[in-house]
């Protein structure tokens, strides 16, 4: 009898821990929602999208430029890091000699583990002065995109490597037996087969890109505006929260929680997108 109760106690305990893990997300949404309620009561969506400026002290909450800034920087960074990452993974899998590969994959692993604040710092002391030589002040949309590329690319390489490894070897063997050329196999067999895994990984990384905060804050100049060109400073949603949380009060603070909510909605949309692409894997 006692054994049976032991089992039951354990099962209940484990169920509790599991519920705690699952509840974290619910708590996050609840806190974001209730903390952004005050501003939602006072202001209309119009004020956020068609406002004039971001001056929380004067009750001006024009969030749109920061949403646009976040999207710009993310898109630019993905435009560079996705082709670069996939090309590098193709090299690792199909072209690279063994001696190069073993040390190179370690390097990519190390790069993917370096904290983003370090990339931000390095961007600030090396990349920004470099860009400033072309066009002052250097802290700009482009600097943010470059630093974000540093952060994202190593992980894209890892993701693409895994996607290529998961391609059914039978297809590749058959293609070789049919006498297809290397480029042909890569283009017509491997890339299409790895497509779903690639897209899932890339979309998840764009979620990471849009959520990146301090590294982007450090190099972007943080002027609230819709940037006219690559060399203009820009402020992202995330940087705005990090910059203003320290002194924000009342509605202002509520506006920052609302920005957090907007970020979560974007991330949720991206996750839904990945579920659309993820292949239904059945684990044996």
């Amino acid at each position: 009898m006692s054994r049976l109760t032991n089992d039951n106690i354990l099962k209940t305990g484990l169920l509790i821990t599991t519920s705690i893990s699952a509840l974290c997300v619910v708590l996050i949404f609840l806190f974001l929602f209730f903390s952004s309620l005050p501003i939602l009561k006072e202001f209309q969506i119009n004020d956020f999208i068609f406002g004039e400026s971001w001056h929380p002290s004067e009750n001006e909450f024009y969030i749109l430029p920061m949403i646009v800034g976040s999207l710009y920087i993310m898109t630019l960074a993905m435009l560079i890091s996705v082709p670069l990452g996939i090309l590098t993974a193709i090299h690792n899998q199909f072209y690279s000699p063994k001696w190069f590969n073993s040390s190179f994959s370690r390097i990519v692993e190390i790069l993917s583990g370096i904290p983003s604040v370090i990339y931000g710092f390095w961007g600030l002391v090396v990349i920004v002065p470099l860009l400033a030589q072309f066009q002052a002040p250097g802290t700009s949309l482009l600097a943010g995109a470059i630093v974000l590329t540093f952060i994202i690319t190593p992980t894209i390489v890892l993701v693409a490597n895994n996607a290529f490894k998961e391609v059914n070897p039978l297809y590749i063997q058959n293609a070789i037996a049919l006498g297809l050329s290397r480029t042909n196999i890569i283009k017509n067999i491997i890339l299409p087969q790895a497509k779903n895994n690639l897209i899932t990984g890339i979309v998840l990384q764009s979620g990471r890109a849009i959520g990146e905060t301090l590294a982007v804050l450090m190099v972007c100049g943080n002027v609230v505006q819709i940037p006219g060109n690559l060399f203009e400073p820009v402020r992202t949603l995330t940087s705005n929260i990090a910059l203003e949380m320290a002194y924000a009060m009342d509605t202002h603070r509520s506006a920052l929680f609302l920005s957090g909510m907007v970020l979560m909605v974007i991330v949720l949309l991206l996750i839904i997108l990945t579920e659309h692409f993820s292949p239904l894997k059945t684990k044996s």
Partner: protein, 285 residues
């Protein structure tokens, strides 16, 4: 990967050159980053740098309080996250089948949790731990926020290592009349120890790299923390503060960066070494 046949038509050569360029670009970036950090960081680093408190907003002095804060944050974070993480992983791997709606729901919520941007995690930590639970800006609040953050990573890795244990062990234990509790504690958990250790190390690396979630939870006081209810500045927050808010803080920022990279590098090497050992042991079984 199966080696593909080599043939030297034009498109193959093009792809070869382009993909080499991609790899070399990343290699070049790595070398540039590491040499730059070493060259600028090494001169400030000596034994005093690790033992002294910062002076003049960090321009002079050392990083001892940050090292202590970082360590306290990591230890506390694991104290909170490990029991919940291991418990959830056991429940998901041993008590449920993956098609049940409850399990699907939990998995979805863990997926979302894994993608929460760190600044949003910081907002949550601030609203919940700092304000609602009234822990204030403290190492405790920071560690709790970090533990929520590493939870999905922990659960996924530990669950995987439990699932990788062959079904036979469970059947044999059952045939021997062992209770489920005994099976879990005497058979499955010991077998999954390696996976749990690796998952823990991964979480430490993840937590050590975190900055944004800590700004408004554990704060950025440079004093030596006297208890976990004190505010404490982690090494990563120190780098951020030095480079953004302290004119002339660059040399110290470089030195702190080098320290953090070395710490993470040693974690990486330990992980490699351990997985190597575990792999050898598994193949010799």
């Amino acid at each position: 990967m199966i080696p593909l046949p080599t043939n030297n038509n034009v498109s193959d050569k093009l792809l070869k050159v382009a993909s080499w360029l991609g790899s070399l670009l990343i290699l070049f970036f790595f070398i540039a980053l590491i040499t730059d950090v070493i060259v600028h960081g090494i001169s400030r680093i000596d034994i005093d740098f690790f033992l002294n408190s910062p002076e003049n907003a960090g321009r002079l002095g050392g990083i001892a309080p940050m090292l202590l804060s970082t360590m306290l944050l990591l230890v506390l974070c694991l104290i909170f996250a490990l029991p919940i993480g291991i418990g959830s992983a056991i429940y998901l791997a041993e008590y449920t089948n993956s098609h049940h709606w409850f399990v699907k729901l939990i998995r979805k919520s863990l997926n979302v949790l894994a993608s929460v941007p760190s600044i949003v995690m910081g907002l949550f930590g601030y609203a919940f731990f700092v304000i609602t639970l009234d822990f204030g800006f403290s190492i405790l609040s920071g560690a709790l926020t970090l533990s929520v953050m590493v939870l999905p990573l922990l659960i996924r890795n530990i669950e995987d290592s439990l699932r990788n244990i062959s079904k036979e062990f469970r059947h044999n234990a059952f045939a021997l009349g062992l209770s489920k509790t005994t099976t879990i504690f005497k058979v499955l958990l010991p077998m999954a120890t390696q996976g749990i250790i690796l998952a823990t190390i991964l979480s430490i690396a993840r937590a050590m790299a975190e900055t944004a979630a800590l700004l408004y939870t554990s704060g950025y006081v440079t004093r030596m923390p006297e208890s976990v209810f004190d505010s404490g500045r982690s090494l990563s927050v120190h780098i951020f503060d030095l480079s953004m808010n302290v004119p002339g803080g660059e040399p110290s920022a470089y030195a702190s960066t080098l320290t953090l990279i070395l710490l993470l590098l040693s974690i990486n090497i330990i992980t490699q070494y351990l997985s190597h050992i575990f792999l050898n042991r598994a193949s010799s079984l």
